[in-house]
Amino acid sequence: MKHFDKPLLELKNIQRLFSKTAVIDGVSFSVHREEVLGIIGRSGAGKSTLIRCINGLECIDSGQIFFETQNIAQLNDNDRRLIRRRIGMIFQNFNLLSSRRIIDNVALPLKLSGASKANRRRRALDLLDIVSLADKAAHYPVQLSGGQKQRVCIARALATNPSVLLSDEATSALDPETTQSILELLTKIKSHMGLTIILITHEMEIIRSIATRLIVLDQGRILEEGSVRDVFAQPKNETTKSLLQVILPTLPSTIAAKLNFIDGQDAIIEFHISGLEAHEPFLNKLEAETGMVARIIQGGIEYIQNEAIGRFFLAIKATDKQKLEKAYAWLAQHSDKSEIVGYV
């Protein structure tokens, strides 16, 4: 990430009202080149409206949007149109034209910008090749599967060589396997073409696999913002935590039901670890240094932006309080978070 250069896109205090209620309420953020910014929030949080403000599909009631330091509001219609051509967009429902063949769908943005027929054809075929659908050029959209349609949609969005790609829940209509292949394609294109991607989604899974930075949106406001690694390791906000919940280990319900807060055979400890600590054989070290063994009830380590982030529920014998205290102190010292959630 090159934070030293000027942001590619900058939104300042954006407000958007729907019948006097603010759907977007004072949102500011900037996006740098080759970044993948994920905007996450529940349905109705204003994600879609926000992303549509960027390319003018939604007008803003106050605030400013700068694209490569140009204030979009101060441009005339024609210049704004030229900027739109530099911002590609992909959609949840693909929005392909059913009346056109795949190749003509991909070539449409070029036709709109006045490219010659031969150029359009060549470029469209190249793009279909990138998304590995060159053999479907003469088909109509209806003959394609959802995943293939989204690939066409991506090829079409890239036709005018945009610097930004907006993704509006692009994988929400696809099954997990297809979603994964689309995300891989986006990652590949991003590094080949030096593309900047802004994607909105309600699935943390998507953010985890592709985004570098993340914004949590709720009721039209930014709740939390930071690198995906940081937010995943230490979410500050309750909404963020609950959005993360789906992909985080939780205490098995059989154990959670038996949990009490006073005493029991085992202490259940929620244990978060990241960075170098997560690369250590920490349970072995715990045993070596305190003589206590910990049993993993639930959890694991995952890699986000090449950094290990671990979350576990551990069970440690609680019959000897002193030893438990010692083990707990060791865990607290070697982790981001250690907390005795109860006893069973």
Partner: protein
């Protein structure tokens, strides 16, 4: 004249008259109705050229003409027919009247076809930096085409039916034949034959319309 003589001497001419009146009126319905439909669609609220000052009056005129029953319309615009065509009876006068009645009908059908083009597609090309005219030319028209053809088929069939009614007020064709032999003299053979020809004509038009629609419809 025997029934067969009547059929052989009068029917071919009547079929030609009906086809000529229907074809010419259908042409005018398309030629004027389609642009008016497009105008109604684009100027309606939330659309490309949103403009209530155009939409409301055009809409009102279209609805007013559609409210008048065909026979009454023919009688009420007779002075205008006389000015435009030169006479108030005959096939050419009927073409004028049929067109006046069919244009608003097809305009509304066309508007409906355009409305059924997904708003998302319009948004999509907008986000590609399309001008409003490009949006109409590259998206609204091609995407609405199958539906426009289906609507036009319905309009032609309505025009054929109306042209038969026009037999009452001085038009030639199958309608006039059916009225003078079937309604006034009650000749069942001639009447049945004409009904049969009308059915065949309608089936043919519908079949052709469906075929062309299918050729342009790539959405299923």
């Amino acid at each position: 004249m025997s029934n067969l003589e009547i059929l052989f001497s009068l029917v071919p001419r009547a079929v030609l008259d009906t086809c000529w009146m229907s074809a010419a009126s259908s042409f005018f319905a398309l030629f004027f109705g389609l642009p008016i439909g497009l105008l109604l669609y684009t100027t309606s609220s939330g659309n490309l050229f949103e403009n209530a000052w155009i939409n409301r009056p055009v809409s009102a005129i279209v609805d007013s003409i559609r409210a008048i029953p065909f026979i009454i319309l023919a009688a009420s615009i007779m002075p205008i027919t006389r000015i435009v065509v030169g006479k108030a009876v005959g096939n050419e006068a009927m073409i004028f009247i049929l067109s006046i009645s069919a244009i608003p009908f097809y305009a509304r059908m066309a508007e409906l076809s355009f409305r059924n083009v997904e708003k998302d597609l319009i948004d999509t090309v907008y986000s590609m930096g399309a001008t409003r005219f490009q949006t109409i030319l590259e998206v609204a028209l091609p995407e609405a085409l199958p539906s426009l053809i289906t609507g036009f088929t319905v309009a032609i069939i309505a025009i054929v039916a109306a042209s038969a009614t026009a037999g009452f007020i001085g038009a030639g064709g199958l309608g006039q034949l059916a009225i003078s032999y079937g309604y006034q003299r009650y000749n069942p053979t001639v009447m049945t034959s004409i009904i049969f020809i009308l059915i065949v004509l309608n089936v043919l038009i519908q079949w052709l319309g469906d075929r062309i629609t299918r050729k342009f419809n790539h959405s299923r």
